[in-house]
């Protein structure tokens, strides 16, 4: 049972409606109120008619940048939800933004994009000297297989602007994921929003996994399609099953959620999440892989307590007024599997987290899995008038 919900306190304007609503954006607009918005983000359940919603939004918000994407589940006022449309409005008085559509990722030519991002960033900054806090928000087609390259290329152009983002989802179907900007729907594309705000904010990434000493070597792969064919010179799925101690015939998304694999780079590890086993017994990944890559089996810590601890940490000085969270679908699966869905939902609701479940998360120059990335907003105006030590 999902309720329409809206709250207009805090820094952002947020609202949500069920996908069954006849004119969902109209309903959302009613909830969001009349505050002029600089930007509106819509996280749309794949059950809904994405194109209809995008069109309705473009019509209702002609002066507002409307960015949208499909989800693998939503995070609403009550935590994990399903079958709703989440709307997040950024009031024009407090925010400035520029949103860019980057399409045809398959033939991505980095240089023009980098130049464009850099010049837009500088322009935005110079026009909004009173809005000293900034972040970049990326929504990318979750089945484009291009997140790693894209983000590695554009992040240098952002300089010190912290970036977070998410790969759009398609429930558990892995069929079709979409992003949209101002009525234009795109696949194999990404929408990058550069945002500046008067409010203090903090971009974060949460990872609750710890590496074990179980390792394996990718001996044959199709990096282009993120497919690992063989591990330790054995068919990939079977060998993965052997390593994590599972029946090769019983591998499913719950196995992948509870036995994620990661690569170690330097002192840190980064999860390379497994999306599914294909008919050839190969493993399809959510992020870039390569031959000769050493995969480490990671183990999740208690997700709920870890999440509570991390979100409390964000509120150490003052509790955030709003948090936008991009939460990996594997976390939702893990929570479901470990019967923590209710706890995790409650924690997110308490901390005013809204957002959606993703096929992958971006933080800085990295595309990662099995994490939650996001941004926290604090009801504390930071500007030149009031210098803060």
């Amino acid at each position: 049972m999902v309720e329409d919900f809206a709250t207009q306190s805090g820094v952002l304007r947020t609202a949500q409606v069920t996908w069954t609503d006849q004119a969902p954006v109209t309903a959302l607009r009613t909830s969001l109120g009349d505050t002029p918005l600089q930007m509106l983000a819509l996280f749309v359940t794949p059950k809904a008619d994405f194109s209809a919603i995008v069109a309705e939004a473009a019509q209702l918000y002609p002066d507002t940048d409307v960015v949208a994407c499909t989800t693998a589940g939503e995070i609403g006022a009550a935590g994990y939800e399903d079958g709703i449309i989440v709307a997040i409005g950024f009031p024009r008085a407090d925010f400035a933004s520029t949103s860019l559509l980057i399409d045809d990722l398959a033939n991505f030519d980095p240089q023009p994009s980098m130049d464009l991002v850099a010049s837009e960033r500088v322009k935005l900054q110079e026009k909004n000297l009173d809005k000293v806090n900034s972040f970049a928000f990326l929504l990318v087609d979750g089945l484009s297989l291009r997140e790693d390259s894209l983000i590695a290329k554009i992040s240098p152009a952002l300089r010190d602007t912290p970036l977070f983002g998410a790969s759009a989802g398609d429930g558990n179907d892995f069929g079709k994921t979409m992003v949209a900007l101002n009525g234009k729907i795109a696949q194999d594309a990404a929408v990058l929003s550069l945002v500046r705000s008067r409010y203090r904010l903090k971009v974060f990434s949460l990872d609750h996994l710890v590496a074990t000493d179980m390792r394996m070597v990718v001996t044959d792969a199709d990096p282009e399609r993120r497919i690992v064919r063989s591990i330790n010179a054995e068919p990939a799925a079977r060998e993965y099953a052997r390593i994590v101690g599972k029946d090769p015939e019983q591998l499913d998304r719950f196995t992948f959620a509870s036995h994620p694999v990661a690569v170690r780079i330097g002192e840190t590890h980064h999860v390379r999440a497994i999306q599914q086993v294909n008919e050839l017994g190969e493993l399809v990944f959510f992020s870039a892989i390569d031959e000769g890559m050493v995969l480490i089996v990671a183990e999740p810590k208690d997700m709920a307590s870890h999440l509570r601890h991390e979100l409390d940490g964000l509120g150490q000085d003052m509790p955030p007024a709003n948090i936008i969270g991009c939460d990996c679908i594997l976390r939702r699966i893990e929570a479901e599997q470990t019967q923590m869905t209710r706890d995790v939902s409650e924690i997110m609701a308490q901390h005013k987290v809204i957002g959606f479940s993703t096929y992958g998360e971006q933080i800085g120059p990295l595309h990662v899995n099995h994490t939650m990335t996001g941004v926290a907003f604090y009801d504390h105006v930071v500007g030149k008038e009031t210098p803060v030590k």
């Binding site: 291009r146 790693d148 390259s149 992040s155 990096p223 690569v263 390569d290 990295l366």
Partner: protein, 736 residues
């Protein structure tokens, strides 16, 4: 789980390891055929991210530091600005001209009052100008009033000389009689601060003040002179009269002041000498010579007689300016008084001499009377004790002859009465000695038990007879005191307590108090009212309450005097109806063992202890002599009784027997003493055991006897002691 499946065959394992190694090597060599570009980008980004985040952290640290130092700089700038503003305000606020030259002698700062009075140069004063230029500028100013003998250049040179000092203050005169005070100070950094103060008004006031003061002083001087009880006149160095006072007018009947002012000394003398005659040793020419003396004049003092009635004492003294001052004092009355005083003094001295002689005679008489009294008291006591001693001895011998209990009881009462009389006389004797200051205290360590033990024996029967309980502490403490007097003191206190208590108990307790011990005598007697507590210590005085009791009230008088003499503190706490507590404080003796005198068993040989012994008794009191003879004979001795020295010597020569024991009275009439007799007899018969009996308690006698190892038995004699002494002497005597 290991990299290799252990269930595989070894060949398969090898095969797999080879493939793994191959994949790893390809990866290391970055030679993947299949494009792993995306992953490589990811990997590079991740590596970079690590580096970047480290760099960023460093950068943030640096930025923080920069911000901090910027903030500090901002604060410092602000403070500098504030300080500069404050300084400007401050120097503008001060009422003086202010200028600061830096260590390079250039003008840095000055306020609007600086050089305001030298207005023709103010336009030329600029920051950065050199000090010498500044001085030069001033020296040429028309406002400066340069002394006549100086050129502007010289003035400037002198000004620069002053500038060399670290601190200098001087006044500068400006035109129109204006003055500024310039004070110049070197700062710590070598700069120069100049302060200019307008002192025109101060100078003017000062001058006015000085004039006022001079007038005032003159007035004060004249008033002072007029106030003097003498005539005073002052001559200047030219011997001209310049000042005098009103008294002078009346003393010398001078013409009115105005007329005499300016008179020469000789003219004044001329005016005066008609009425005056000089006293002895001085005359008019001498005075004139003194006045005319060109050397330093010594002060002179002489007398003048006026109209042969008044006498004036004149004192003339030179003043620092070579003038002189003369004072005239009318001493007529003083002289008369002095004469009268001198006569009276003579009379008084005679009176004192006469009185002194009279007092001398009276003193001699008093001394004689006092000596007589002492002698009388001693003699009277002695004379009283003699017959008393005799009476006691008679009574004790009578006791041996009586069998009838009634008679014995009567006899007992008579003895008790006699003991009472004896005690009174003893007390009187003690009081007279204590009063005359002749008592001798032999302070020594005394075991309290040696004092308190016998007292218990002595007084318990009396107490029991009255139905009182008497408890005396069995003390282990030794104190410093005179054993005899201490015994007397405690005996009197406890005795009194028993005497005046009708029911209840007497408790004698000891109480340590640091280095001393208190002996408290508690009783449950009637108590003593506060108003009586002083009185009871006076001899012959007793509170009315105890009127029914026997006694002269000498006991406490003795206690008080003895305690005073021994320096023992005596205290009394009492409340009528609740009993009394007399306390004496005794110093505790250092812990040395006091030998316990072995209690000698008193031998009782059935009354015949002196069987066969020949005892010579010389006693000039006939009654006592007879009593002694009777006592000794009853105890088996042969007694040779004589009353005089001569008789004794004659008797011994006549019978030519050496007695076994000599019992000799000390006082044997004029010029004779028992000691002398003892020595005489010893010459004839060799050393014989002997004892001196005497009512004389003098220390001198005790010493004499001790020197001859001669026992001294005090009167009144104690029968037991006497017998023991004789027995002891007989034992020493070798068998004849």
């Amino acid at each position: 789980m290991s990299l290799i499946n252990p269930s595989d065959s070894l060949e398969r394992q090898n095969e797999k390891l080879r493939i793994i190694a191959e994949a790893l090597m390809r990866r290391v060599e970055q030679k993947t055929e299949n494009s792993g570009l995306a992953y490589q980008q990811f990997e590079r980004a991740a590596l970079l991210e690590t580096e970047v985040s480290e760099r960023t952290r460093e950068l943030e640290r640096t930025l923080n530091l920069l911000q901090e130092s910027n903030a500090r700089l901002e604060i410092a700038n602000f403070e500098t600005e504030t300080a500069r503003a404050n300084l400007s305000e401050a120097i503008e606020t001060i009422n003086e001209g202010f200028a600061l030259f830096d260590p390079d002698e250039t003008l840095v700062l000055f306020n609007s009052r600086f050089c305001r009075d030298i207005d023709d140069i103010t336009d030329f004063l600029v920051k950065g100008m050199h000090f010498t230029d500044y001085v030069e500028l001033i020296s040429r100013s028309s406002n400066l009033s340069i002394p006549n003998n100086q050129t502007p250049a010289e003035w400037a040179k002198r000004r620069l000389t002053r500038h060399r000092h670290n601190h200098v203050v001087f006044n500068v005169r400006l035109s129109r009689n204006r003055w500024i005070q310039v004070s110049e100070h070197r700062t710590a950094r070598g700069g120069t601060v100049i302060l200019q103060t307008d002192v025109t008004e101060i100078m003017r006031l000062e001058r006015q003040e000085r004039d006022n003061m001079r007038d005032q002083q003159a007035k004060t001087l004249q008033a002072t002179l007029d106030h003097l009880n003498q005539g005073v006149c002052i001559f200047d160095q030219n011997l001209t009269l310049v000042g005098w006072n009103k008294n002078m007018d009346s003393l010398l009947a001078l013409p009115p002041q105005q007329a005499v002012h300016g008179l020469k000394f000789s003219e004044v003398i001329e005016l005066l000498h008609v009425e005056l005659t000089f006293g002895e040793g001085f005359d008019l020419p001498s005075l004139e010579r003194w006045a005319q003396d060109t050397n330093k004049r010594k002060p002179v003092l002489f007398e003048l007689k006026r109209n042969n009635k008044e006498i004036l004492s004149v004192f003339a003294q030179e003043m620092p300016d070579r003038g002189f001052v003369m004072s005239f004092t009318d001493v007529t009355v003083e002289r008369e008084y002095a004469l009268a005083l001198s006569e009276m003094n003579e009379r008084l001295e005679q009176g004192v001499r006469d009185r002194t002689t009279e007092l001398g005679i009276a003193l001699a008489e008093a001394e004689r009377a006092n000596a007589s009294k002492s002698r009388f008291v001693a003699a009277a006591s002695h004379d009283l004790l003699q017959p008393l001693s005799a009476a006691k001895l008679f009574l004790s011998s009578l006791a041996t002859h009586l069998t009838d209990t009634t008679n014995l009881s009567t006899l007992q009462k008579a003895e008790t009465a006699l003991v009472g009389v004896e005690n009174i006389i003893e007390a009187l004797l003690d009081i007279s000695k204590l009063d005359a200051g002749k008592a001798v205290f032999r302070v020594q360590p005394v075991r309290l038990s040696a004092i308190l033990g016998p007292l218990s024996d002595e007084l318990t029967p009396t107490a029991q007879a009255k139905g009182l309980s008497l408890t005396i502490v069995d003390s282990q403490i030794s104190v410093l005191s005179d054993p005899g007097y201490l015994h007397r003191i405690v005996q009197n206190l406890v005795g009194n307590a028993v005497k005046y208590t009708n029911e209840g108990a007497i408790n004698v307790v000891e109480r340590r108090d640091g280095e001393s011990v208190w002996i408290d005598v508690h009783d449950t007697g009637p108590g003593i009212a506060p108003e009586h507590q002083k009185m009871i210590f006076r001899e012959f005085e007793r509170p009315e309450l105890s009127a029914g009791e026997p006694g002269l009230g000498l006991g406490l008088a003795i206690v008080e005097r003895a305690c005073l003499g021994l320096d023992h503190k005596l205290a009394l706490t009492s409340e009528p109806g609740k009993g009394s507590c007399f306390s004496i404080q005794l110093p505790v003796a250092p812990t040395v063992q006091i030998p316990v005198e072995p209690t000698k068993p008193t031998p009782r040989k059935n009354g015949k202890v002196l069987e066969g012994a020949i005892v010579l008794v010389v006693e000039n009191d006939e009654q006592l002599g007879n009593a002694l003879a009777q006592l000794l004979e009853e105890n088996g001795a042969e007694v040779l009784l004589c009353s005089r020295t001569e008789d004794a010597k004659a008797l011994l020569i006549e019978i030519d027997i050496a007695p076994d024991f000599l019992l000799l009275d000390y006082q044997l009439g004029t010029g004779h003493s028992g000691v002398q007799l003892y020595q005489d007899i010893c010459v004839t018969f060799g050393d014989l055991p002997a004892a001196i009996i005497s009512a004389n308690r003098s220390e001198e006698l005790e010493k004499t006897c001790a020197g001859l190892s001669l026992p001294l038995l005090p009167k009144p004699l104690d029968k037991q002691v006497l017998l023991q002494q004789i027995e002891k002497g007989l034992r020493k005597q070798p068998a004849p």
